[in-house]
Each structure stands twice: as structure tokens, then as C-alpha cells.
């Protein structure tokens, strides 16, 4: 075992945040009630406490007890059913709020609200490498996090260390009374030496087995030769020790991978005024657009997160049809959306992220400034952006051909900026209707002979008398697709007032199959 490894300079700084009573406290915040509160779930035919709040703990209750026993000890209980999904969703909200400190935030998979084990606690990792100076140093940042959560009514323990393992251990088992602590770089080994073996995040069975051998602290384990330890207890204890000491990496999976184009605007005081928010958006855009100008790139999609003082976030997103980096134009697209933004009691951090950034092709400029065609193209592109951003992304589209003989499958829709493809499409040799019914409607028709076009027909309760007809055009079903229909014979039919319809007969009459007439569209 070499010591030099452990003392090598660590570049990572990980913050582990532990909320021991998250499940009950978040309910207290939403519906305050002074009485002891417990959450339960059914387990082997009885109700078991999964989470207890501070009052209930004071009364001697703890997670894992049967509800009947708990009632015997404390009759005045508020009992609620535990919902891991709801707690998990709230925890994700909280984790998103933590993005104000760093773009790399992930949920602790072993905590109760994520894994579904008993306890009602929740954990979050923050990879704050290189972020602390924005908040006045590591101590100030951790204190700020814990104090803000305490202000919201959440008990929070936080520890900052060089590895996730040590940060986790300190936050869970050795947090000082103020709720947070910072382990200086290189002190990981000393920090967890005297902690019980649970601190190494080992399974309960392993902890018990180690206990029987008299191995009670992490220090005991670290001092043992690795070979016999692995032979006796498997690979897990050794791996956890290595992770804690930083000998092998332990990646944390961020909620959302951080975008390389990200700017942050922190405010000394929360703001809620629309004008102030607009000003903040302008500043973010100006900074990012200046950078994009240097990189010769532009936004295709961007998102602005507004971190509210009450611990939640609101987001606005925006997409454009071609790379855009004109801050004024982008601001105009966002401006209308600000009306619907609810700042709550105020927003104190705003972050702009370019979710999709694309290189631009600069236009050839003539002496007068810009070519007329380029200007018009840009105007049309800006129009499509305006329409898309107001009406919704799927509502502005262009039709595209699909190689299919079935009329209802022969075209699809694509975003308006996608390339056009009709020039190369194979067009049917005979006219098609200009309006196609979304699904063919049955028609009562009389034909002189089984394979003739109809002589008269009734559609939607109105009788039509056929004056002219052309066809048939046979369209065979696509047998390679399941659920394909029958062979269709299409007829173009004109009634005696000149209205033109597109009807088809389903089924092969020449083989004696029963024919059904369907209306499929209106001809020009």
C-alpha cells in the first residue's frame, strides 16, 4: 500500500448533500401541521413506518416500526401513505435548483427517496470543482446551501471533500451541529478513519459480518492487507475504500449534461419585476452572443433557467430555424414569453444555456450592406421563427412526400426549415384529390354492374347522382405491413352539379368478394 497515492493533489471537489427527513419535511412545508407526522407503506400485511418527522422522533418513533406499535406510543399521529414517486419528483426539483451552484448535479441513488428503501431521506451530489470562487470560497458556498435549505424548512447536512465517498460519509455520519463541514484537500483518509464501517456505503450484510470480526471502523478496514480482506468479504469493501481515497474514480451521473454554452447571471437580491427580468435576459444574451460571434456560431435552441428564491426553478426555451446570434432579435422572441413567467418571490440566479448551437455561414455582403435575396431569406426565416414560437413547434411545417401507393400514407409533415423533396418525388399518373378525408367514410352506392363506377351514391345523408366517372385505378394493399387493408379500385366521379369526388371500391369483385364503397377525398 502506498501512501503517496492518497496524498496526491486532488482536482475534484464533491459536495454531498443529505436531507435526512426530506419525505416528511417537504410535506410539512406544503401543508404545515404541528402534530407528529409519519409516512407508512404496507409490508407483509401490516403498515410499517417509512419516514418520521422531528416530533415523531422525539416521541421515540423510528422508521421500520409497525404503525400499530407507533400508535401505542404516540396516539396523536398524522399518518400518510408514502409515495416514492412524488418524493422523487420533488427531489429532482430540488436537484434542479442546485444547478445554481454547478451544472453537474446528480441524485444519490442509495437514498430512500430514489431507491425506495425505508428512511425517507434524500441525497444529492454536486460536483463543485472550480465553482466555489463564484460564491466566496468553499466554506461560504456550503454554508449558503445549508442556510438556504434551512430557511425553506429542510434539515440539511452537507460535506465537501475530494471524493464522493468521503463527502457522503461525513454528511451522513459526522456532520457537525451547524450542519456542514469542508474536508481540506488530502485529508480524506484522516476524516473517515474513525467512522463506523457503514460510512463506506457497504451493504448491511457486509457491515454485520465485519462487525462480527471486530472490524468496527473504516480505519480498521483500511489498515488490513487487501488480499485477505477480498478473500473473506469480496471485492466490495476494497472497492469502496479505493473510491473514498480517490485511488479509483467514481463518476457521478449528472441530471442533465452541462452545455458548453452556458452563462450565469447571479443577483445580489431577488428580482421579480418584469422589466428587471427582461434586463437580465438582455445581459445574458449580449454576453453569449458576443461569444458566438467569435465562434461563428448561432443558437438553434436555447433555454433560460430562472432560479427562484423559494427553491424552485422556471424555464423558458426558444428554438430558431437557422442559427441566430442577434441579441435584439432573440430578445424579441423571448420578450412575449416573459409575460407568462411566474417569478414567485423573486429570481436570484439566471442561467442561459445553448442546448443546440450550430455554425453559421456568413453571407456574402455587397457594397451596400447585404444582398436583397439574403435579406428576404432572413426575413422569411425570422417569420417562421415567430410563428413557431407563438403557435408551437409542430404547427409550422412543410409537407413531404413518402414513397407509398396508399394515398393516406403518401405524405408526411416535417419542420418548415427541412429541405424540400417534392422535385424528386414520383407523382401518380392520374389526378389526386386536393382534400383527403382523414379516414375513408362508407358510402351507400348503386353500381349498374359489380365492376362499374357507382351510378348514384349517398354520402353523409345526401344523395348524389353521378354524371361522369373515370377509373378505376387499382391500388393494392401493402402486404408487408400488418393490418393492411384490401385492394382498392379508385374512381374519379363527378355529380350532376359538377362536384368531384374520389371514391373507391374495396374488395375484388371479379373474384366474387363483397364490395364496399368508400369516400376518400374531394377533387378540385
Amino acid at each position: 500500500m502506498t501512501v503517496s497515492h492518497e496524498n496526491s493533489p486532488q482536482s475534484r471537489r464533491i459536495l454531498s448533500l443529505w436531507l435526512p427527513r426530506f419525505a416528511t419535511e417537504r410535506r410539512d412545508i406544503e401543508t404545515p401541521d404541528g402534530r407528529p407526522q409519519v409516512l407508512t407503506r404496507a409490508e407483509r400485511g401490516r403498515l410499517v413506518l417509512t419516514a418520521v418527522d422531528g416530533h415523531a422522533t422525539a416521541a421515540g418513533l423510528e422508521p421500520g416500526m409497525a404503525l400499530a406499535d407507533a400508535r401505542a406510543m404516540e396516539p396523536d399521529l398524522v399518518v400518510d401513505e408514502w409515495s416514492m414517486e412524488a418524493d422523487g419528483a420533488r427531489l429532482r426539483d430540488l436537484a434542479r435548483w442546485c444547478l445554481r451552484y454547478t451544472p453537474l448535479v446528480s441524485l444519490d441513488p442509495s437514498s430512500s427517496c430514489v431507491s425506495g428503501t425505508i428512511g425517507g431521506d434524500a441525497g444529492v451530489w454536486l460536483d463543485v470543482t472550480g465553482c466555489a470562487h463564484l460564491f466566496g470560497g468553499e466554506e461560504a458556498m456550503v454554508a449558503d446551501l445549508v442556510n438556504r435549505l434551512a430557511g425553506l424548512g429542510l434539515t440539511a447536512h452537507a460535506a465537501l471533500a475530494g471524493t464522493p465517498g468521503v463527502a457522503w460519509a461525513i454528511a451522513h455520519l459526522a456532520a457537525p451541529a451547524r450542519g456542514w463541514c469542508v474536508v481540506p484537500d488530502g485529508q480524506e483518509r484522516a476524516a473517515i478513519r474513525d467512522l463506523p464501517t457503514v460510512a463506506l456505503r457497504l451493504p448491511a450484510a457486509d457491515v454485520e459480518a465485519l462487525e462480527r470480526m471486530g472490524l468496527r471502523t473504516a480505519g480498521h478496514l483500511m489498515d488490513l492487507p487487501r488480499g485477505p480482506l477480498t478473500a473473506r468479504f469480496g471485492i466490495e469493501p476494497g472497492r469502496r475504500i479505493d473510491q473514498a481515497l480517490g485511488r479509483i474514480g467514481e463518476p457521478i451521473t449528472p441530471l442533465a449534461p452541462p452545455a458548453p454554452h452556458r452563462v450565469r447571471f447571479g443577483l445580489p437580491e431577488p428580482i421579480a419585476d418584469r422589466e428587471d427580468l427582461a434586463h437580465g435576459v438582455r445581459r445574458l444574451l449580449a454576453r453569449m452572443c458576443a461569444r458566438l460571434e467569435r465562434e461563428r456560431a448561432g443558437f438553434r435552441r436555447l433555454r433560460i433557467d430562472f432560479f427562484r428564491a423559494d427553491g424552485s426553478t422556471r424555464s423558458l426555451s426558444l428554438s430558431t430555424g437557422r442559427p441566430a446570434r442577434d441579441p435584439e432579435a432573440l430578445f424579441r422572441l423571448i420578450d412575449g414569453k416573459l409575460d407568462h413567467l411566474d417569478p414567485g418571490f423573486g429570481v436570484d440566479v439566471m442561467v442561459l444555456e445553448g442546448e443546440w448551437v450550430e455554425g453559421t455561414v456568413s453571407h456574402q455582403r455587397d457594397l451596400a450592406g447585404a444582398t436583397a435575396a439574403g435579406r428576404d431569406d432572413e426575413a422569411v426565416s425570422a417569420l417562421l421563427d415567430r410563428l413557431t414560437n407563438r403557435l408551437g413547434p409542430t404547427r409550422v411545417h412543410r409537407p413531404l412526400p413518402v414513397e407509398s401507393h396508399l394515398p393516406e400514407r403518401a405524405e408526411t409533415r416535417a419542420p418548415a426549415q427541412s429541405p424540400a423533396r417534392w422535385k424528386t418525388a414520383a407523382m401518380p399518373p392520374v389526378p389526386r384529390p386536393i382534400r383527403l378525408l382523414s379516414r375513408p367514410e362508407p358510402v351507400a352506392a348503386i353500381a349498374l354492374l359489380p365492376d362499374h363506377p357507382p351510378a348514384r351514391f349517398q354520402w353523409r345523408g345526401v344523395d348524389y347522382r353521378v354524371a361522369r366517372a373515370a377509373g378505376p385505378e387499382r391500388v393494392a394493399p401493402e402486404w408487408w405491413r400488418s393490418g393492411s387493408s384490401q385492394t382498392r379500385d379508385y374512381f374519379r366521379v363527378e355529380d350532376d352539379e359538377g362536384r368531384r369526388f374520389w371514391l373507391y371500391r374495396e374488395g375484388l369483385v371479379e373474384r366474387g368478394q363483397a364490395a364496399a364503397w368508400m369516400m376518400h377525398g374531394l377533387m378540385a
Partner: protein, 286 residues
């Protein structure tokens, strides 16, 4: 006293000057001084003769009325409008897209079918569809498109006008937007079910208003050209009103209108047997 008066300038100007002056006045009225583009020649004498400048004026808003509930049973107005757009695209090959705002709420009449529109000669590559939730959004989208230089034309399908409800301001706004940018606008709506009197007329500020309905085809049975009955109901500065509906056929191959005359192909009214002379070819496909 012998005072010599300065003579007045010649009071009567030549007819050509009157035309030029009128043009000048129109330009001054518009206020932007832009020279009005020549109209879009339709290629059908009866219609072109009636229109000012010998064709459909561009950079204006035109209204096309189909018969009542036309989107449900009768696609003639859609066909005629598509034909106008195809002509316009042909005349301006290097200009931008056509923005079409369909009335998607009403799926009774089916959805626009691009293969059919392309079959009428429309360049589908230059077509952009804008779905909206209601008529207010459709008019907003239309106005945005009309005020964007670089768009070739913008079209909105509107609801039938309720009796007694007029919206002059919308029409005037759309018309002004179109004049400023040079984008041609089309309003496509079914006529009201019962009335066709003045109360049912909505937008008074449109440049022209057309009534289109299906017409029995007098063409040879093999002729697949669609035939419509078209009436120019009103047009600003129209040279002549075509008060009589005029039957025209549209040729998608050559992109031209032509007037058709003659009786519709004989309809056998006394027997249910139709006069079927359709070409009976089987397109064995798939």
C-alpha cells in the same frame, strides 16, 4: 387699361396622361411611392378584361368565396385558389414560399392533400402550412406573413361570416400590410349558408372578391381538366364586372385558364344509368 392675362394651361390632357396621373394619385394615396407591379395575367380573356391592369393585382388581398359549406362537399374554391397560387409561383420563380393557414379544426372536409395540390401545378416545395387553433390566430399568422418581404403569398382559410357581423378594420389592416410588403394575400371562405346579401359580406377592404363553385364539365370524357364556375363579384378599379358566372377550365400542365363553352356532358336524368365513358385503365401498382 390693358392688362394682359397669363393664359391658363391647357385644361384638357391627353388620355394617356390621365392614366399616368391616376397612377400617380394612387401612388400618393398609398404613400410609399412604390410603383405598382403589373397584375398577374390569368390567361383567360373574360377575366383578364374585367380586372384592372389586365390581371390580378399583386401585393393586395383577394377574397375567394366558395359555396356554403364548401369545404365539406365542394373543393372548387380550393382548386381555383390553388390554380392562382400555381400561376403566381410560375410568374415569380425566385421569390419565397407560400404560407397557407388551413382551417384544421374542421376535419369534416378532410385535410389538404399535397399530392393533389401538386397535381394542379402548385410547386409543393414552396408550400408551408401553418396550423392554428382558431380564426384569431389564423388572422394573426396571416398578417405576420403579409408583412414579411420575401414571402410570395399568404393564404388563410376563414370561417363563414355570420350575418350582420362585419370586420372592416381587419380587412384594412391586412390590405395595408400586403401593400407595404408586396406580398399577395388570399382569404378563402365559404359563403354563409343562407344569405348572400350585403350583410354576409365581411371584408370590404379586399382588392377583389370572387365566387367559385363546382361546374358540370362540358369537356370531352377523357379531358381531366377541372372546370369551375367563377364570378368576379367585385374588384377595385375594375374595368368591367363579370356579373355572369363564367365557366373556366384549368390546365395544370400549361398552367393556364381557359373559358369553356357548351352544354355539360349529357346527364341521363331519367335512368340511374350513368354516362360512363371514363378511360378504363388499370394502374397495377404495388
Amino acid at each position: 387699361m390693358n392688362i394682359k392675362c397669363k393664359p391658363f394651361p391647357e385644361a384638357s390632357a391627353a388620355p394617356a396622361d390621365v392614366g399616368a396621373l391616376r397612377e400617380l394619385v394612387r401612388r400618393m394615396e398609398r404613400g410609399d411611392g412604390s410603383v405598382s407591379a403589373r397584375g398577374l395575367t390569368l390567361g383567360c380573356q373574360a377575366l383578364d378584361d374585367a380586372l384592372p391592369e389586365g390581371g390580378l393585382p399583386l401585393g393586395r388581398v383577394h377574397e375567394i368565396l366558395g359555396p356554403a359549406r364548401s369545404d365539406v362537399r365542394d373543393a372548387a374554391a380550393f382548386g381555383f385558389t390553388t390554380a392562382l397560387l400555381a400561376l403566381l409561383m410560375e410568374a415569380r420563380p425566385h421569390e419565397g414560399p407560400v404560407i397557407w393557414c388551413p382551417r384544421s379544426a374542421n376535419l369534416l372536409g378532410g385535410a389538404l392533400y399535397t399530392r393533389g395540390l401538386a397535381g394542379l401545378g402548385l410547386d409543393a416545395d414552396r408550400l408551408i402550412l401553418v396550423e392554428t387553433r382558431d380564426e384569431a390566430e389564423r388572422i394573426w399568422a396571416l398578417e405576420e406573413a403579409l408583412s414579411t418581404k420575401g414571402v410570395l403569398a399568404a393564404l388563410a382559410e376563414l370561417d363563414p361570416v355570420r350575418a350582420g357581423k362585419r370586420d372592416d378594420r381587419t380587412g384594412r389592416r391586412l390590405q395595408l400590410a400586403a401593400e407595404r410588403s408586396g406580398v399577395t394575400g388570399f382569404l378563402l371562405r365559404p359563403r354563409m349558408a343562407t344569405a348572400s346579401g350585403p350583410a354576409a359580406r365581411a371584408t370590404t377592404h379586399v382588392e377583389s372578391r370572387w365566387q367559385v363553385s363546382a361546374a358540370p364539365s362540358p369537356l370531352a370524357p377523357h379531358d381531366t381538366r377541372p372546370v369551375w364556375s367563377v364570378m368576379l363579384e367585385r374588384a377595385k378599379r375594375a374595368r368591367r364586372m363579370t356579373s355572369e358566372p363564367c365557366r373556366i377550365a384549368w390546365d395544370p400542365e400549361h398552367l393556364s385558364f381557359s373559358e369553356v363553352v357548351g352544354r355539360p356532358t349529357e346527364v341521363a336524368h331519367d335512368s340511374p344509368v350513368p354516362d360512363v365513358r371514363g378511360d378504363r385503365h388499370y394502374d397495377r401498382v404495388a
